[in-house]
Amino acid sequence: MAELKEELKGKIIEVLNLEDIAVADIADSDPLFGEGLGLDSIDALELIVLMDKEYGIKLSDPKQGKSIFQSIDTMAAYIAENRTK
């Protein structure tokens, strides 16, 4: 799981072009939206594509995203449970 979280942080930084942020700057429990990383709705769409492309997870219900994308912890847990690749 720790490895998945590190990989996920790296992918998020790359996909969202978070220029001034390193993997070490993101705590597993930091909120991704709002006060934490400060991501927004366009980033949410990018994360949905990332989940599909990298882990084979299709989020059909956008409401799911709110709980899944709370933090690296919640994302990694969902990916570990549902990934198809």
Binding site: G38, L45, V49
Partner: protein
């Protein structure tokens, strides 16, 4: 009654850096086939959260636009009008590459949103909170001139008082490789300046050049935009008549023009157009600028910046003068001529104010 249109502010981001007082004394002719712009720090203008989604073209446009507004002391213009030949090509390429690489799946929104040609004008408006007229012209090498013509007509018809108008084009890998393949850009192993060019193609570069155009003259006014004319196709034999007609509609003849600013870009096959044009106006200073900022579809916007600066300062820096004619009278009427590969001809007449 004809309303005046004054250039009250200029901003630019180019291969020689940003628009500044010592721009011409600190510039060096380009020798590379493809040149990136010298990027300023954007931190003061664009938050990192916004900047991470922006390509260079968008950031350059925002920076140049703000410079032009600051100089004119305008917070929010009545309209924003831009010209671009290729638009946000970096994001267009990214989006198209994703389509191909991912078999039309997994298309991310950011590159798509930012890939449209009007992205720069839109981002400037969003940042300023400008809800006025917002338009982008995509007319190859007269894209900027089309924007300038629109701005002039808006001011003429009193649709607006202060207009932000500019041109922007960015370098992108794939598109520029293709332009090199078809010979529009010089081969990478050719290192010629415009002055010593002996080959077809031009040295390309990205740039953004913006102006605040206003009805009111201020203490900062550079000059007045007197007239603009565009012509897609023209024969070399008709160039003199095309120019004469333009001058006549402005109550001028060739002897009234005090200097020329020409779009020489080092393409051996097409620079002859400018030689013909020069012959219509013997014995006046001839100025060029693309040896410093490179060729792109909207690089002619920098001709307006160059001419405006010359008119305001009444000095022609040696680095931009092509011929040896000494300036022996005040620079009052300056005529700009640009074409690209024998098409998209434009004339812009600037007058001191």
């Amino acid at each position: 009654m004809k309303k005046s249109r004054y250039i009250n502010g200029i901003g630019a981001v180019t291969a020689q850096g940003i628009w500044r007082t010592d721009f011409f004394t600190e510039s060096q002719p380009l020798q590379q086939a493809v040149n990136a712009a010298q990027q300023p720090s954007y931190r003061e203008l664009i938050s990192p959260a916004m900047a991470r989604r922006m390509s260079r073209g968008i950031k350059m446009g925002i920076y140049a636009a703000q410079q032009a507004l600051d100089e004119a002391q305008i917070d929010i213009p009545d309209a924003i009008i831009t010209g671009t030949g290729l638009g946000c090509s970096e994001d267009s390429e990214k989006f198209l590459r994703n389509i191909l690489d991912n078999d039309e799946e997994f298309l991310t929104p950011t590159a798509f949103i930012q890939s449209t040609h009007n992205t720069v004008a839109a981002q400037i408006a969003l940042r300023l909170g400008c809800k006025g007229y917002n338009f982008t012209y995509v007319n190859r090498s007269v894209s900027f001139e089309s924007a300038l013509l629109d701005a002039s007509m808006q001011l003429q018809d009193a649709e607006a008082t202060d207009i932000l108008v500019g041109g922007v084009d960015e370098v992108s890998d794939h598109t520029f490789r293709l332009l090199q393949l078809v010979g529009h850009i010089k081969p990478s192993d050719v290192h010629e300046t415009i002055h010593d060019s002996n080959s077809p193609g031009a040295n390309y570069a990205e740039s953004a050049t913006f102006f605040t155009l206003s009805q009111q003259k201020t203490a900062y006014s550079y000059c007045e935009v007197q007239d603009i004319n565009l012509q897609n196709k023209l024969s070399q034999g008709d160039l003199a008549a095309f120019t004469k007609e333009f001058l006549e509609r402005n109550g001028l003849h060739a002897g009234d023009i005090d200097a020329l600013v020409l779009g020489y870009n080092g393409d051996k096959e097409f620079d002859g157009w400018y030689d013909i044009f020069e012959c219509i106006f013997p014995s006046i200073p001839s100025i060029y600028y693309k040896h410093l900022i490179g060729q792109c579809d909207t690089s002619s916007a920098f001709a307006v910046a160059t001419a405006a600066k010359l008119i305001r300062e009444q000095i022609i820096p040696a680095i931009i003068q092509r011929n040896q004619v000494t300036l022996d009278r005040p620079l009052r009427n300056v005529l700009l001529y640009n074409q690209f590969r024998g098409e998209d001809h434009s004339l812009v007449l600037l007058r001191s104010c």
